[in-house]
Amino acid sequence: MPSLGEIIRESQIWKSIFRHPAPVDRRNRIVVMLTNFFLHLHPVSIKKQGIALSFTWCMGGVTFFLFLVETVTGVLLMFYYRPTLEWAYNDILALRDVTSLGILRELHRWGAHAMVITVWLHMYRVFLTGSYKPPREFNWVVGVILLLLTLLLSFTGYLLPWDQLAIWAITVGSNMARATPFLGYEGPGNQLLTIDGIDMITNASDARFGLLGARFVGEETLNRFYVLHCVAIPLAASLLLAIHFWRVRKDGGISGPL
């Protein structure tokens, strides 16, 4: 009698998906890395120290995993949440008090905080092991952009609950844009951008206005931040993550002493 596992693994469906026997022997452990879409991100074999937890702290991996957690919980939250002045706060309130899976909001928020922390720790590790040195200079640069995107993701998400904490944190944060040199209404040098005596940089045309979509944090801002948070920045981050991982491989895998 073949066991249930064997029946499943011998079935046409299973074989059509995996195309090779279970990775229990050396040959198939190699094959699985080459044929599986998700696993082919990795090489087949790797230096032992490259996977030592005490070396990488697994922080890049944890950051990526948190990014995935944020994506999944974020999409689910989007089913509930409407980014309008009328609904935003109430939807969050309902997530807390009424909705059965309201804990998704906690997962999403704490996951976001955790991701900021782990991305810093990852950068810290990469610095302390000198892993940004040639040939990995460019991947460090990609990483810095990812760091910036992580912070921006967190920042734009902070506004969405539309409570006092949210709008004032974003107000404080975005007030600084008002002082952008040349392009900010209260920044040095904006007087230079004058045509025929008409100021080009006003509080309705400066950098802060571009960020908020209005003169103060309002409905336009909520919409703008929502789109940035749910679409634009995640897309940009995904692209850069793909490049980041690709480059880890192309630069010769995890760094190590020569």
Binding site: K47, G61, V116, L121, L128, G130, P134, Q164
Partner: protein, 461 residues
Amino acid sequence: MHGVPLDLFLKQISGFLGTYYLLLALMNAVAAYLLWQGSSRQRELFRVPGADFPVTTAFIWLVVSLFFLLISPLAYSGDPQWMRLISLPLAVRAGINWLMDPTIYTVGTLLLLAFLFVFRRFFVKPWVAWSGLNLAMLLMGMSMTDPNFAAIVTKADNVPIVGLIFLLAFFTWLATYKAVLNDDRIKQGLEPLEKLDNEKVLVWPDLVYTELICMVAITALLLFWAIALQAPLEEPASSVKTPNPSKAPWYFLGLQEMLVYYDPWMAGVVLPSMIIAGLMAIPYIDFNKTGNGYYTIDQRKFAYVMFQIGFLVLWVTLIVMGTFLRGPNWNFFGPYEIWDAHKVEALNNVDLSEYFWVWFMQSSRPRAPEDASDLAKIGYAVRRELPGILLVIGYFTMLPPALIVMSKYFQTMFIKMGFVRYMVLTNLLLMMMLLPIKMLARWSPFHLKYFISMPEYMLNF
């Protein structure tokens, strides 16, 4: 938790604190057990004279564990009498509050980190680090019975920062531990430890399983965190009711703290851009080929120290200060101080140009006549601020060559890097150092506000 009577507050916190001490007891018990098991790792410290009893490290941690086990019921009791025994004495708290100000805090953390760095060989020893952890945990526990301390530390959005502090401490210890080992090996002509694990292993199962376990652990942690702590939700947004203090999200509080010393165009726009650009520039200005792919400090001391000044000393400590020690009106509050919105702090800061013209030249600051043309007004402003302008320009242009002349180290650096890279490096570092310089100038008896102050053009520096 403000406004709650003390005994009620102690009741509320008692469950948490009791469990906290139980966990500490468990932590030390596990450490003792592991040391006792792998008996080669436990060291005999001394023998009790008379009785033939070896006092080992395992024994010490067992005693510590028992200590935490004993104070745990005191915390669980929630009784003010008992809890007083496991609280920092009021006098100590008052003393710390009284001592603390931005100067002491910032200089103090800098000195502490420098001290840890210089004596790192001692502090990375596992038993020293473990004692440090225990002490920090105990201090934290004994502070939690203070309502003001508890109120800021347990604020839901602040909890991650408490976590960040401990995680950073742990990973800094780990990295330094490995660096010290490697540095010793390198001195003896051996290769770094990482090199010993050079053999290749298959990714399935070695890496894939590690990743799976990591994912499960993170998921569990996140679930626990989400169940234990509710995400904050305050009153609905209102553009007329400004909360005091209004704080940016915690990861930007370093920038908000810089607003004390810089105008927004610097703190909010120029400096963040410089941080990003500076980080990106690191691989291109660090010409040191050694220390690639393993932990070391001695082989790249300059890069290491500069990075730590930027990251731990400036970025992280300012965030911690902005989160825990800045209250209403962005005033500074000690860790056990009540956040009183009416606290007044005298602010009489003076610009450099005032010192120059009024104090030094004994005249008044140049001022453009009312009917002067726009260009003439600029001329007057520049003349008024000339001392500061020259100082700033000199700082960025004269110091880099001066360093080459004065120090052999920078001379070699210049030769190896070439003009452009050297100037980029030194200017980035000088820009970073300007923040502590501005802090010192502000705290000094001169209370210096701006080097260059042209409010009419919104250009203050």
